[in-house]
Symmetry: C2
């Protein structure tokens, strides 16, 4: 399952009822008696940059709740090129498709050190049968994924490379406006925006010259959000 054994550290068996980010995760609404239904251990994992949660086409055994970090969902085209279709952050769920008995649609790769809970399919299905509360949570995750997919299409796949890049920075900075934005290389950047990596590099360089962003360290950017906003709209 885990191709990069080196990069996957099993932290232990999760105790959901005392989860620190309980209100964010899939099982947040469950009660103690609900957890009694779980007889399969839920592993908690820490994964390093580059580790693979699962690969497209694998028969899905588990869903993954992202507790912290950043994960990319990659889709490969017949011609070999790849496209990043979504980013997953704290609270998101990867691998929902296993709930409808499909193999994984994407390859899920860790971009920044990630802590995740692996939820065996059987656990979610069992709980889903018993407790209506989980349904609402599940639908919210489906919605979030779908919403992000649509946003990705309209915001990051439409308009000039300048505008796309500006919108990406704004999106990544959105929930922590004062924190620097962390990226993971020009190649990935291109794959997110649907442009070549040279174009990504050139556009970043241009942004730096214009003072829209500054690269504090490799792939660590501080952004002038209002200036980026202007670029996202006017070009």
């Amino acid at each position: 399952m885990h191709r990069n054994g080196i990069d996957a550290a099993r932290l232990g068996t999760a105790r959901c009822s005392s989860c620190a980010i309980r209100d964010l995760v899939l099982f947040g609404d469950l009660h103690d008696q609900d957890f009694d239904l779980i007889h399969i251990p839920i592993d908690e994992l820490r994964l390093q940059h580059g580790a693979t949660l699962y690969s497209a086409g694998d028969e899905g055994g588990s869903l993954y709740t992202i507790r912290s970090g950043l994960v990319k969902l990659v889709q490969f085209l017949p011609d070999g090129t790849q496209r990043i279709v979504r980013l997953l952050r704290q609270g998101a769920v990867a691998g929902l498709e296993v709930l409808v008995d499909k193999p994984y649609e994407h390859t899920a790769v860790v971009l920044q050190e990630t802590e995740t809970c692996r939820l065996p399919r059987a656990v979610v299905e069992r709980l889903s049968k018993e407790t209506p509360r989980l349904h609402a949570r599940l639908m919210e995750r489906w919605y979030q994924s779908l919403h992000q997919a649509d946003e990705w299409l309209t915001e990051l796949s439409t308009g000039s490379a300048r505008r796309r890049l500006a919108r990406l920075f704004l999106k990544l900075a959105a929930d922590a406006p004062n924190e620097p934005v962390l990226l993971s290389g020009r190649e990935d950047l291109g794959a997110m925006l649907g442009v070549g990596m040279e174009t990504a590099s050139r556009t970043i360089a241009e942004f730096k010259r214009a003072g829209l962003v500054a690269e504090r360290a490799p792939n660590v950017f501080v952004c002038d959000l209002s200036a980026l906003e202007a670029v996202a709209l006017d070009g």
Copy 2:
């Protein structure tokens, strides 16, 4: 609700238990006693080209099951341009977002004469509480939407206009390889592929000259699928 009263004909109150396409629709798995729970009428509507099911931002009152026809989901960008993010055909559901208490994400516009069942939110929620069978169906719809969204991004928003157009034809012809493909104008075509309408027109013209497609009547195309396949891959 219906901006185009002219184009919306109320066919009557649906009787789900004798639905002709029951195995395709959302309520397909329900039993007679389930339907007893419904005390709100489900309207069946016939809508003409150009009619609007709902508009982005509206507070969602209902979901819509597409019984036949073709509907586009359109998203408007801040700068005024619009992008078609998905097409809905027989069996698909529009407006799932109302189930998580969100306003409609898109504007849903009829491209080809469409028959649809309007499912008031309260009905779906009520049934969803009572019968687990509906959950599976609902998740399948979420999955279908998400899957299509991802496909749309990788197949119709990546690569040259030639390749995108070829892939669109293949996608539309997929479930009826011998039927002609129906489109709805170059403007919409551009909005699906993320290119200008002039480019859409030019590319169609090029395909016609090359014998890849033939336009039997305005917006009615017969396709050479294997030739299109080659274009989709090699360019």
